[in-house]
Structure formats: structure tokens, C-alpha cells
């Protein structure tokens, strides 16, 4: 009961500082950070003349975007689009197929140490290199076109799916796998019965998510010569055909949104 008989308790309470307990250092750090921010902004040189010219070009671009032209370059757009979609689907399927064994090998709780090191190494290499750099490399190796794009996206998918799958396997309920092991099951049977059912919904979800990442990436790597809708976009931009470029961007946005909604729906369904 909170009546007049117990007046001794305070009515105000503040959360004690968690990271820096000294009042002096707390203020010093805040002020230091602000001063650094101001100085850093001061060093950025802005050429206002070029900004003005750029703004003008930007205006034309926005105008093109508002009046997209789907028809005059439709043949190029549809070829690029089909190439991109093919690249996306094939690279996701191949990438996921390769990632599953690598992901299993990279899970500390089921793989022996030597295999763990190898698989983590593969993942690290795949994640260290950004898609564009890999695309430039593959274009140099195999020439312009969708094949270089397919290889790039497959390679990038391995790093993504294998890492997240491995982490998911490390987070499983060990008791279920232990129970399967206790029946005398072999290593592959433990994976098939004790682990796969626990990680499958997430693997499907990640694959769908990667599918729409790969589509977006296919538009980017096209700019460096790896084929697909990105190549078409690059061509129309360098020809100053902003209305066609606007049309391409709208198509990309529409497809990404569509895959976003459908993958969300599918992921709920597989739970």
C-alpha cells in the first residue's frame, strides 16, 4: 500500500549510465565527437558551380522518370530483362546448391575442425569481394555478357547463404540432434533427421531473400559488362535517353516489390 505511512522511498529514478561512468569523460567524449564532426564537415570541398549543373541534369532525369518511355526501346529492355531474370534464377539455384554443403561444413557444432576452417575460408573469400569487383574479374575472364553475371551472382550467393545457414545450424536445439545420435544414426542421418527439419524453413526463406537480392545485383553488375537489364540501363543512360532509363528503373522497382511480397508470403507458409 502506498499511503502516508511509507514516505521514505524516492519518487524519481534515473537509469544509471552504463558505458562511461565518469561524468567528466561522458561530457568530454560528447563535446569531442561534436567538434570532430564540425571540423570533418568543414574539410569537404563543395564545388557549387558543378552542383548547379548537376541539378539541371538531375531535373531532366526526374522528368524522364515521370514520363517513362517503355515502347521505343522495348526490344532492348525485354531482352535485358529476360537475361537478368534467367541470370538471377540460375545463379540462385546453383549458389544455394553449392552453399548447403559448405554451410554444413562451416557449422562448428557438427563439422570437424579442419573442415570448419576450409569452409569458413571459402565463405570469407566470397564475402570479402564485393559483387562489382568479382563481376569485373569474370568479365575480364569470360568476356561481356550474362555468363559472367551468372558466375558473379553464384559466387556471391555462396558467401551469403553458407554463412547464414552455418549460423542457423549452430543455433539449433542440440537436444533434438542428440536424441537422433543416441539411436545409433550415422552422421548424414543425424543431419537429415536431427538438423534439416530445424533449419529448412529458414533456408527456404534465405534462398527467396537471396533471389531478390540477386535480381537487384544483376542490374548493378550489368553496368560493368556482365549483361542483363543493367547493361540496357547503362546504354540508355549514356545515350541520354532518360525516359527509357526511367522505364527500366520502374520495371526493376516493380519486380523487386513483387518478389518482396511473394517471398514474405511464402516464408510465412513454410513455417
Amino acid at each position: 500500500m502506498s499511503d502516508a505511512a511509507s514516505p521514505a522511498y524516492p519518487t524519481r529514478w534515473k537509469r544509471p549510465p552504463q558505458m562511461v561512468t565518469s561524468r567528466f569523460w561522458r561530457h568530454a567524449l560528447t563535446i569531442g565527437a561534436l567538434v570532430y564532426l564540425v571540423l570533418a564537415i568543414g574539410t569537404v570541398e563543395v564545388n557549387w558551380q558543378r552542383v548547379m549543373v548537376g541539378l539541371e541534369r538531375g531535373q531532366r532525369f526526374v522528368a524522364g522518370f515521370l514520363q517513362p518511355d517503355f515502347t521505343s526501346r522495348w526490344r532492348d529492355i525485354s531482352t535485358g530483362l529476360i537475361e537478368s531474370l534467367t541470370m538471377t534464377l540460375t545463379s540462385t539455384v546453383v549458389g544455394v546448391l553449392i552453399s548447403v554443403p559448405i554451410g554444413i561444413g562451416a557449422a562448428r557444432n557438427i563439422a570437424p575442425a579442419w573442415l570448419y576452417m576450409i569452409c569458413r575460408g571459402i565463405i570469407a573469400v566470397s564475402r570479402a569481394l564485393q559483387e562489382i569487383i568479382i563481376a569485373i574479374f569474370f568479365v575480364a575472364l569470360f568476356g561481356f555478357g550474362a555468363f559472367a553475371g551468372f558466375l558473379t551472382l553464384s559466387f556471391a550467393t555462396i558467401g551469403f547463404i553458407a554463412k547464414l545457414l552455418a549460423e542457423d545450424i549452430e543455433d539449433i536445439d542440440e537436444a533434438q540432434a542428440e536424441a537422433i545420435r543416441a539411436t545409433g544414426a550415422s552422421w548424414v542421418q543425424v543431419i537429415n533427421y536431427g538438423i534439416q527439419p530445424q533449419v529448412m524453413p529458414r533456408l527456404i526463406g534465405l534462398s527467396l531473400y537471396r533471389l531478390d537480392i540477386n535480381f537487384r545485383e544483376s542490374a548493378v553488375i550489368g553496368i560493368v559488362g556482365a549483361g542483363g537489364i543493367g547493361a540496357t540501363l547503362n546504354t540508355s543512360l549514356s545515350r541520354y535517353e532518360y525516359d527509357s532509363a526511367g522505364a527500366i528503373l520502374i520495371i526493376i522497382i516493380a519486380i523487386v516489390m513483387l518478389s518482396e511480397y511473394s517471398s514474405g508470403y511464402l516464408r510465412r507458409w513454410v513455417q
Binding site: 533434438q176 542428440e178 536424441a179 537422433i180 539411436t183 542421418q189 537429415n192 533427421y193 530445424q198
Partner: protein
């Protein structure tokens, strides 16, 4: 028959979980393993099928030295040892039938288990066991759709599907209510009697252990401090295992629980007769 000799387990952290544990379990005997949390009960039963590697000592199952086996032989030995777990440890997203059939994994090649094409006699046995534990209507449900007591029955069926020569049972009633606990314990003991199966039941409920086990082994800090019939488990022995506590009051309230349950059963029988 199971014989454990001078079993010692030291974890890599330096914690000594078991020290010189020795005992024998003859065919058909149900042993209740009691002791406070951290006494090494879980470690002990996991050393028997080597889910935990013992540091020293031997475990013999019908003259097979389990502690010396290499991985392939160990898998064949594990098929002969059924295990039932605390929190059931069913594979939640698999069906009840798949969970029961997983007891045959050590006997079938990978392609059969992967395609779920188990031999006919294994499937028949699984149905018979599900019927025995009273779940034949639930074979196609997912394991996570069942209640706690039902899940533990699936766990029992999975262990029996192995045709085991020994049952290791880790806290079978830890997540169940008192009434379901007694039902599960009764089922386990009945099945052990039917098949002449020896069992080690790791259990922290002293009263349940006394009521259902043929023999009690008390562990305290990794050592056996009591080994005898349930009637020999005096207040003095309990204090040796757990330390000071009001044992009489605890046993009284458990006895009341049981009396109430017996009354309820008699009542139900009367109703059945009336119908």
C-alpha cells in the same frame, strides 16, 4: 546386463563430474538414479552410450565393452541402448511417425531413411508401439502439435522402436505435471516389466523414484553415496544425498497426491460401469 566400473569423468574445464562410480544392473531391474542438481546424474547416463566420453573406467553391456568401441562399432552399440529425454527431445517439425521410425536409423541404410521408405516390419512395429502408448490416432500429426505427456509417450515409443537391451531415461517427468508424471512413470515401468528391460531412470523427484524403482542409487558430487532398495532410503540416507530437508512433510504431501489420484480413478471406473 549393464556393468559400470570405476567410471570417472573430468570435463575439459577441470570439473570432476564423476568419481569412481561402479554398479551393475541385472536384466529387468529398474534403477532410480537420484541426487541434487549438478551431482552428475546426466553425465553418468550419457557416459553409458558415450554421448559424453568417460575419462576413465569401463561400461560393459552384456560383455561388450562400450568404452573401447570405435565410431562404427559405437553406432551399432547405441542401437541397442534406448534413450528417453527430459523435454522429450523429439524433432519438432517431423511427424510423430517419423519420430518413432527414427529409432530404426541405426539399422537402415541412408537412402531408406532419406526417402522415408522403412522396411514393412519397422513400420508395423512403430504402429504397434504407438498403439501401446495410446497414440495410434496421432501418427501423422507434427510432434509440436502434441501435449507434453503425449510427446513423452512418443519419446518412449522411439526408444522402444530400437529394440533396446537397456533404457537410459533422463528426467522423464521434469516438464510434466504431477499426475502426468505418475502416468508416464507407470508406463515406463510396465514396459520394462513386459520386456524384462533394465533401465536407469535419472530422476530428481525422490518420491516418484521410491514409488516406481526397484533399486535406488544416490549420487552426491559425482560419487555413489547410496545404493539399495527403495525401502532402505531412510531420512538419514536422504540427508546424506541432498543435505538437511523436511523429508516427512514432502512424502506426506506426495502420498496425499496419490490418494487423490487413486480416488479419481475409482470414481472414473464407477462412472464407466454406470454408463
Amino acid at each position: 546386463m549393464l556393468s559400470v566400473e570405476k567410471l570417472t569423468k573430468v570435463y575439459r574445464t577441470g570439473d570432476k563430474a564423476l568419481t569412481d562410480v561402479s554398479f551393475e544392473v541385472p536384466k529387468g531391474q529398474v534403477v532410480g538414479l537420484i541426487g541434487p542438481s549438478g551431482a552428475g546424474k546426466s553425465t553418468l547416463i550419457r557416459c553409458v552410450n558415450r554421448l559424453v566420453e568417460p575419462t576413465e573406467g569401463t561400461v560393459r553391456l552384456n560383455d561388450l565393452d562400450v568404452t573401447r568401441l570405435r565410431s562404427g562399432e559405437l553406432r551399432r552399440a547405441r542401437r541397442r541402448i534406448g534413450m528417453i529425454f527430459q523435454e522429450y527431445a523429439l524433432v519438432e517439425r517431423l511427424t510423430v511417425m517419423e519420430n518413432v521410425l527414427s529409432g530404426r536409423l541405426g539399422y537402415v541404410p541412408f537412402w531408406r531413411s532419406f526417402t522415408r521408405r522403412f522396411p514393412g516390419e519397422d513400420i508395423a512395429k512403430a504402429f504397434r508401439l504407438l498403439d501401446r502408448v495410446g497414440l495410434s490416432a496421432h501418427a501423422d500429426k507434427r510432434a509440436d502439435a502434441l501435449s507434453g505427456g503425449q510427446r513423452q509417450r512418443v519419446g518412449i515409443a522411439r526408444a522402444l522402436e530400437q529394440d533396446p537391451e537397456l533404457l537410459l531415461i533422463d528426467e522423464p517427468t521434469a516438464s510434466l505435471d504431477p499426475k502426468t508424471s505418475r502416468q508416464i512413470m507407470r508406463l515406463i515401468v510396465e514396459i520394462c516389466r513386459e520386456r524384462g528391460l533394465p533401465a536407469i531412470i535419472n530422476i530428481h523427484d525422490v518420491v516418484l523414484a521410491q514409488q516406481f524403482a526397484d533399486r535406488i542409487i544416490g549420487l552426491q558430487a559425482g560419487r555413489v553415496v547410496f545404493d539399495g532398495g527403495p525401502a532402505m532410503l531412510t531420512e538419514e540416507a536422504l540427508t546424506r544425498i541432498y543435505g538437511e530437508e523436511d523429508w516427512t512433510a514432502m512424502q506426506q504431501s506426495a502420498a496425499e497426491d496419490e490418494a487423490a489420484e487413486a480416488e479419481e480413478r475409482a470414481e472414473a471406473k464407477k462412472m464407466m460401469r454406470a454408463l
